[in-house]
């Protein structure tokens, strides 16, 4: 190392620990007249003092590695081809995409979520929300069309691609006047309000999410996506760690503080967007551009009055973001003539409206987007606005900030108490004028019910042990909703909102697979929603929305009562849905969504009819369904979701045909179903779901073949499934087919493997009834195969199976497992029969086997008889009672 370098470092090392005069003196002394060296040391010391947090934290950041996977252009994502990248943001990249099958020219925006967004949870939430998001059908909302995961598990969303510019850019480029800007924001408000009525909160409203098309139509992007991507409160934390989900400039104080976003948060963000549109700057003047500075400003400082903000902006070189010298721009851009004129325009109403929307406390803002929009409208019409400026006393007192209670997951039980607190707050306001009180209360209750249902419930639903809290939330939400329902009649928008909320309660209670399992409660809530929607429908039967929502609810009700075994009510709801939808489909045949909704109704009706023993009706519904779907022009029919639906209908038609003992018909339908699914799986190899449903179709086809004793064909299909997925189930089916083909020696290894896998699953979760059933089934089949081989361990396997079944407690009304055991006993009877029929067996032993066979058959008969008496047997299963009874008689006779 050069001597000079060594001197440099030595002087630096000695001097850096000192300060001021002392340091200067030391550097001078040690440099010993070498001016160049001294200057260099001084430069380094100065750099040291200035370096601040330079390299203070390690180099790696979340983003650095997250973007390693890249370069999608030209590649396929799901059934979409990426054309080019449109942009990149905190949560991933947005691409321009088109359908890979070239079915449509339509250009789409595909948002690929980068790694680190916790793909599985994102997807789970997406699936949960998708129905709701896809149902948002509003001219000012960009439609969400599809979503899925890439082969390596990155979630993506496909949306309508909007060609437009962010609202602020658009307004400035077109030099829109203040009034024109207000009109523009009113359209945005209409979209947000529509979404709120569907109980979807945007959570990330900002100019970049509001694109205005060339035709001047604003479109909101990414509705509800923020929630799908990021459930839970720690939004700012994630922002800091590099995943910028929230744009703090537009986020409400509650979001910045990590609390939950509600409809009031959207009101706030709309306020910020309008503020910027009018003044050209942000409502706050943060100390710096760092996220933390902005966040601090948002939660602790008051926004400038818009009218004075124009002034500040005039000389603001430190104005945040891109806008320096804004006032002049503003004046020019809005055609206001002069700063003073613009100020006058903003002073008064607009100051009050914006400051009301921007209040820190959500409950002090406008109670809804409609109210916010209403005031803007009143201002434009020259009417007095409803918002009132804050009083001096209020302003003076508000900075003594309350202690915020963070919403830690562990403290969730406290959530249920929130309800009570709010209730007390209403009572405190009892003294006010009746009118004000009613409105206020209504808004509060509405917000509370929504918060309970959406934010709080969603936040806790995956937590272990949250069920009691969820139940409490549902109960509370219901009592608020019931209160609202009695108070508020007349306003259709509110009625619709109420219905939507009841429906949501029903989903939470039991309509959803992940619900609380309270199907009775679900029926009650759905019924309330139905009542409201029926009233709306009676009031205006021409509104297609009323029809669609009524149909959707009837379907939900039909499904849940079906699960409760009430077939006739289910059928009634299904017919109701059908009656609502048929005219809609006839009126707009090109609307695939609607067509698929009607398909779902026919499908439900077909399945319910079959279960009710009305085979001819069932077939009729499925045939009608096929006509509905297959009659479409080739381009529409080529859509995967339509093809998938058709394959489902063929499957259900096959069920009905099998029931009518039309085995060739069933076989043909099964083949159709399989062909459709195999084509989908071949076309979209990256979509595992298609392969999965193809496997299911293969299985069903094989079972029809099995019933027709065409075991060799069945075996081929089972083997194909086994090759795709070596699961216990496929091992079992392969073994079963081999045994029926008289090849028990080949069957045994498959059955042993199935038993092994099922036993492992059962051991891992011994409470799981289904694994228990599977183990019993494997054992019975294995003992049949061993018996056929005359293997010495056959008897022991059979005995073990009997003991295993006897150790399994099943409720007498639990039809499925009992029916399953009915089948297992029958199979065991056959196995003992086989053992008894062996030539080598001694007479005493033969008698023991025959006795055992008879007992097994009798147990089977007992189960079927009891299930039939309890009306728990579907017509499909009645023939099994006959078969078991005949076998029992035969065994008795042989004795």
């Amino acid at each position: 190392m050069a001597e000079r370098w060594q001197r440099l470092t030595q002087i630096f090392d000695a001097a850096v620990v000192l300060a001021g005069e002392e340091r200067c003196a030391l550097v001078g002394r040690l440099s010993a007249g070498d001016a160049e060296l001294q200057a260099e040391v001084e430069r380094l010391l100065a750099a040291h003092d200035r370096a601040g947090s330079f390299m203070a934290s390690p180099a790696i950041s979340g983003e650095a590695l997250a973007e390693i996977e890249d370069a999608w252009t030209g590649k396929l994502i799901g059934s979409y081809r990426v054309v080019r990248e449109l942009g990149r943001g905190g949560m991933g990249a947005v691409y321009l995409a088109e359908r890979a099958d070239g079915q449509y020219e339509q250009r789409l925006a595909l948002k690929l979520i980068k790694r680190g967004m916790d793909s599985e949870q994102v997807l789970a939430r997406f699936r949960a929300e998708r129905q709701i998001l896809a149902s948002l059908d509003h001219p000012n909302i960009a439609r969400l069309l599809d979503g899925g995961t890439t082969p390596d598990g990155l979630p993506y969303f496909v949306m309508e691609h909007i060609e437009g510019r962010p609202i602020d850019e658009y307004a400035d480029a077109h030099r829109l006047s203040v009034s024109a800007r207000l009109e523009l924001i009113l359209q945005v408000c209409a979209a947000v309000s529509y979404a709120h009525q569907h109980l979807v909160v945007h959570r990330d409203i900002k100019p970049l999410n509001i694109l205005v098309t060339g035709g001047g139509v604003p479109k909101l992007l990414d509705f509800g996506i923020a929630k799908v991507l990021h459930e839970g409160g720690d939004e700012l934390t994630s922002t800091v760690t590099g995943f910028r989900l929230l744009t703090p400039e537009y986020a409400s104080p509650e979001q910045v503080d990590g609390r939950h976003a509600t409809t009031a948060s959207d009101v706030y963000s709309l306020g910020v967007v309008l503020y910027e549109l009018l003044t050209g700057r942000s409502p706050y003047r943060p100390k710096g551009g760092a996220i933390q500075d902005i966040a601090t400003a948002v939660s602790t400082t008051e926004p400038d009055r818009p009218s004075t903000a124009v002034d500040h902006a005039a000389g603001a070189s430190n104005a945040p973001r891109r806008r320096a010298g804004v006032a002049a721009d503003r004046v020019a851009a809005t055609g206001s003539g002069s700063v003073e004129k613009l100020r006058r325009r903003l002073r008064g109403d607009l100051d009050t409206i914006l400051l009301t929307a921007l209040r820190k406390e959500p409950q002090r803002r406008y109670a809804s987007v409609e109210q916010f929009a209403g005031d803007i409208r009143r201002h434009l019409d020259g009417l007095p606005v409803t918002a009132r400026p804050d009083t001096f006393r209020y302003r003076a007192g508000k900075f003594t900030r309350r202690n915020r209670v963070p919403l830690a997951a562990g403290a969730l039980v406290a959530l249920a108490l929130v309800a009570g607190t709010v209730a007390t707050a209403w009572q405190a306001r009892e003294a006010r004028a009746a009118q004000v009180r009613a409105e206020r209360r209504f808004a509060d209750v509405r917000r509370l019910a929504n918060a309970l249902l959406f934010d709080y419930h969603d936040a806790i639903k995956d937590l272990r042990g949250a069920t009691p809290v969820r139940e409490r939330l549902v109960r509370d939400a219901l009592s608020y909703l019931d209160g609202l329902a009695t108070e508020q009649a007349g306003d259709p928008a509110l009625q619709r909102e109420l219905a939507s909320a009841y429906r949501r309660v029903g989903d939470v209670q039991g309509g959803d697979p992940k619900g609380l399992g309270d199907s009775e409660g679900a029926v009650a809530s759905y019924t309330k929603a139905l009542g409201i929607l029926e009233a709306l429908y009676r009031a205006d039967s021409t509104d297609t929305r009323n029809r669609r929502e009524l149909a959707g609810l009837a379907m939900a009700l039909g499904t849940v009562v079906w699960e409760r075994g009430d077939l006739s009510t289910g059928l009634a709801h299904g017919r109701r849905a059908r009656d609502m939808l048929e005219p809609l489909v006839a009126a707009s045949p090109g609307d695939t969504d609607q067509r698929l909704q009607l398909h779902a109704a026919y499908d439900l009706l077909g399945q319910l009819s079959l279960e009710a023993g009305q085979i001819a009706e069932a077939m009729e519904f499925h045939r009608l369904d096929l006509k509905l779907l297959e009659s479409r022009p080739a381009a529409e029919r080529a859509q995967p979701r339509l093809r998938h639906a058709i394959s489902v209908v063929y499957g259900h038609l096959a069920d009905a045909q099998a029931e009518a003992d039309d085995q060739p018909g069933a076989l043909e339908s099964r083949r159709r179903s399989l062909e459709l699914r195999e084509a989908l799986a071949a076309e979209f190899p990256e979509n595992a779901e298609y392969e999965r449903i193809a496997q299911a179709a293969r299985y069903y086809l094989a079972s029809v073949l099995g019933r027709m004793k065409r075991w060799d064909e069945a075996l081929d299909l089972y083997r194909k499934n086994l090759a795709e997925d070596p699961s216990a189930f496929n091992e079992f089916r392969t073994g079963e087919a081999l045994r029926h083909l008289g090849r028990p020696a080949e069957a045994v290894p498959h059955l042993r493997r199935a038993l092994e896998l099922h036993t492992a699953a059962f051991r891992a979760d011994s409470g799981n009834l289904f694994d228990r059933l599977a183990v019993a089934g494997d054992q019975a089949e294995l003992c049949s195969a061993l018996a056929a081989l005359a293997r010495p361990d056959a008897r022991e396997t059979c005995a073990r199976t009997v003991a295993f079944i006897e150790a399994t407690a099943v409720e007498p009304t639990h039809a499925f497992p009992r029916a399953f055991f009915g089948g297992v006993w029958f199979a065991l009877g056959e196995a003992y029969d086989t053992l008894a029929a062996r030539a080598s067996v001694r007479p005493a032993e033969r008698r023991t086997h025959r006795l055992a066979a008879r007992d097994m058959y009798r147990r089977s008969v007992e189960i079927w008889t009891d299930l039939t008496a309890r009306k728990l047997v579907s017509p499909t299963d009645t023939f099994r009672l006959g078969a078991a009874a005949r076998a029992a008689e035969r065994a008795e006779a042989a004795l």
Partner: protein, 196 residues
């Protein structure tokens, strides 16, 4: 289970031992393994970040070490070597990536660096990393140990004590080297922009 580490690619321990015994070829065979593992771990950590994990390079390289080596055979000295090695890999991963992105964004070539970007809240600007890399190479040419200290601390996320172990010097020396190197790099990057 799917996301459990694959069994340690056998040989990393052997390679480490061979390398520390002076077998230079062992390093070449080991690097791709380490590199892949780090990338995989980085992705793995990223996917857990929302559960409150901050992506710490230290955690990454330590975990990579645990996964890649059989601890019963690898002694402490190997571990220190490994950490040093991994820090270098991290540096390379980040730099390559930054260069790719800059090239893609700007159509080639790095650009002048402004240190105001250093405080950018979301991630570290690519251009800064690239400028830093240039500086670091120059620093390492003048004073290899200081270069190593920066690499280990900034890219590897190692603590002062760990760096001392790797470099076999005292913790105080590491601290001094770091203070100097940081000032020197800052001066070089910022001074280069303002001065000459």
């Amino acid at each position: 289970m799917a996301d459990q580490p694959q069994s340690a690619p056998d040989g990393v321990t052997q390679l480490l031992i061979a390398w520390s015994n002076g077998d230079k070829a062992a390093l070449d065979r080991m690097l791709p393994l380490v590199y892949e593992e780090l990338r995989r771990l980085a992705a793995h950590y990223l996917s857990r970040e929302r559960e409150g994990h901050t992506l710490q390079p230290t955690a990454l390289v330590h975990e990579a070490y645990l996964r890649l080596t059989d601890q019963r055979k690898a002694d402490w000295k190997n571990r220190a070597q490994f950490l040093g090695l991994a820090a270098g890999m991290m540096r390379r991963i980040l730099l390559n990536h930054a260069r790719d992105r800059v090239a893609k964004k700007r159509g080639g070539g790095a650009e002048q660096v402004s240190l105001s970007l250093v405080e950018s809240p979301s991630g570290r600007p690519d251009v800064e990393l690239i400028a830093l890399e240039d500086g670091l190479e120059r620093l390492a040419a003048l004073d290899p140990r200081k270069g190593r200290v920066v690499e280990l601390k900034f890219f590897g996320g190692l603590t002062t004590e760990e760096i001392a172990e790797v470099l076999e010097v005292s913790a105080a020396t590491v601290e001094r080297d770091w203070t100097f190197a940081r000032a020197w790099l800052y001066e070089m990057i910022e001074g280069g922009e303002a001065g000459q």
